[in-house]
């Protein structure tokens, strides 16, 4: 015991400071190195996005200059006014909004029910259904648009179907967007629901609710953040979609915003300033929403795989 009293200095303690400084210096060098690499990675990753925004604010003569102007000085909003006043901008924004809102609403209602079944019931065929959901999520859209096109062009001529389906119909695009938004939403939602302990609903049932009542009163409020996150992600997917809109919406007034971006390029070249302004506007809602939900959603397709 006595050897442990604080009064007994040991020879090691005398030499210690010198060594500690050397260790510290090694660590410092390492930290500076790491931070420098991190800064470089950050710069490389973010530069394209920066370049888009910077270009969008530059006057035309600064854009079309062999020597790049690194900062948008002097800045101008003319590219944005140009983009906004371009033909079909507001129409196509409206089209995108209609498509997205319909797809998200429909998917959420339908997916909520399916997620309920998958997360709250044990039944024959449950595993197979989950595998099916994951499987169809991986189907390439570019393969599916061929039969879809055949179907749509045919449905467009069938009386009774052609008011919803057909080429150049937003409603047709809405239906087709469900192919990827719905399975994704089912999968993500059931993950969120599984995070809510089942006992809470059991307690509610013992407390006097029906099973359905327990879903509404207990599960629904608790899974609401997940519902919001899933909706936003569905929103982003639908907003960003390109190929279906490109193939099926051929009329300029019927297109969505991602297809509209192509209108800046013609045979004479590309109108870079307005295009970058338009691209910034297109990306804006997505970026805002994405930042809001990123933490919740990033693990949907991989979740749980690391729990040791």
């Amino acid at each position: 015991m006595s050897s442990l009293t604080p009064l007994a200095p040991t020879p090691v303690a005398v030499r210690a400071p010198a060594r500690r400084i050397r260790v510290r210096r090694g660590k410092l060098v390492r930290r500076i190195g790491l931070n420098a690499v991190a800064l470089l990675v950050f710069a490389v990753m973010v530069f394209p996005v920066y370049w888009m925004v910077a270009t969008a604010f530059k006057p035309g003569r600064d854009i079309l200059d062999y020597k790049p102007h690194w900062f948008p000085a002097p800045a101008t909003l003319s590219n944005f006014t140009n983009a906004i006043h371009r033909q079909y901008f507001w129409t196509d924004v409206k089209n995108s909004a209609i498509v997205v809102v319909c797809v998200v609403t429909l998917s959420m209602v339908v997916a909520f029910l399916a997620a309920l079944a998958l997360s709250r019931f044990r039944f024959y065929g449950r595993g197979a259904f989950i595998v099916l959901i994951l499987g169809v999520l991986m189907l390439p859209l570019v393969a599916l648009i061929i039969p879809m096109y055949i179907t749509m062009s045919r449905a467009g001529q069938i009386h009774g179907l052609n008011w919803v389906l057909g080429v150049n119909k937003l409603s047709g695009v809405i239906v087709m967007y469900m192919t990827f938004v719905l399975p994704f939403s089912v999968w993500t939602l059931q993950g969120f629901m599984r995070g809510v302990p089942r006992e809470l609903e059991e307690a509610a049932m013992v407390d006097g609710t029906t099973r359905f009542g327990a879903f509404v009163r207990i599960l629904l409020p608790l899974v609401a953040p997940g519902l919001v996150a899933t909706s936003i992600f569905a929103f982003i997917q639908a907003w960003n979609e390109y190929i279906i809109a490109y193939v099926f919406l051929q009329d300029g007034s019927k297109q969505t915003i991602t297809v509209w971006l192509a209108s800046f390029t013609n045979l004479h070249g590309t109108d870079w300033g307005p295009l970058m302004a338009g691209a910034t506007l297109t990306a804006l809602p997505v970026v805002v929403f994405f930042v809001l939900i990123q933490r919740r959603i990033s693990f949907g397709l991989t979740a749980g795989a690391v729990k040791a």
Binding site: P197, E199, L200, E202, A203, M205, V206, D207, G208
Partner: protein
Amino acid sequence: MAAIRFTHVIKEYAGGTLAVDDLNLEVAEGEFVVLVGPSGCGKTTALRMVAGLEEITDGEIRIGDRVVNDLAPRDRDIAMVFQNYALYPHKTVYENLVFGLRMRKVPKSEQRRRVEEIARILGLEEMLERRPAQLSGGQRQRVAMGRAIVREPQAFLMDEPLSNLDAKLRVQMRAEIARIQQTLRVTTLYVTHDQVEAMTMGHRVAVMRSGVLQQVDTPQRLYDLPGNLFVASFVGSPAMNLLDVALEREGGGLVCRSGGVEIELPVDIAARRPQLEQYVGRRLALGIRPEALSESSTDPDAPRIRGRALLVEALGAESLAHVEVNAMALDRPELVDVSAAQAHLLPVGDRTATLLARLEHDTGVKPGHVVDLAADVRRLHFFDLDTGSAIPVAGVPVTAAVV
């Protein structure tokens, strides 16, 4: 208030596993019955069947006069306390407590009155506006209890409500729950895997194993007259010592022999168990509780077991000695509670067994010493080696099913 009655209840899962096999049990009005057993024994399933959270495959459960088999949980008028409390995280304590009353359309003023009364009783008045996440474990436990009490149900169902608390709080809440139950006199079915909890809380204790009810009785009788090897090894801490012995007739009396250990049974003891006669010349299991072994006996006739102390645990009020003796340990894992058998940590040699003995706190026994243990022959237990059933004492009725 109402009795709960299981009649030939069976629960079979999709794979064909029998979680509960022909359960017959009655919890009388106002009674506190504890269902106890190792994990996976079906006790929680039985409880959940009463709550209506689990389908009943066959048989009948009654609450009061009603067969509840096909009733939804909300129509059964029972309250349940869950292992993880299952407090609604998005509701305040007040909202949690009042939820069941709201669902039952109790008048608003009555709701408030009852919740406030319960909050006062449980000391929750200060935290009615908090959410469960802002409460300590003990407080959550109280809210969970409160949510059950405020409903004034026909019966309480409790599913290991104390297992998430630390040891000290658990002892405290144990007493509190028992006290609440005594005051309210509500029929209570309580599930736990902790036999100490079971023994201290229940009016009666029902021991289950692999879906089969082993024995139901008051804690004391369960301890004194275990119906079979499983109950004998499950109830009591530290667990009962079990030896594999041969019963022989010697002179006028009976002798149990195992290795070098010899225990002579006085004539009156043997006479109290007439069935022992049938086992003469055969082997059986002999059970001795640790407190039935002492270091020195005032009774010079008491049989002595000589062994070597391996370890002495000083527990303050007493000392627990692990004594290695030259005898055959019982090796029938399928008949005993395995977790208790494993509590005999020290290796069991081929021809040696380790006996646990409760000795005086000031015992001079040290590891390595040779000890002479005196066995109290009045407190010996005998079991059939094939069935595990206790060999009954004449005139004492067996209280429940024995496999």
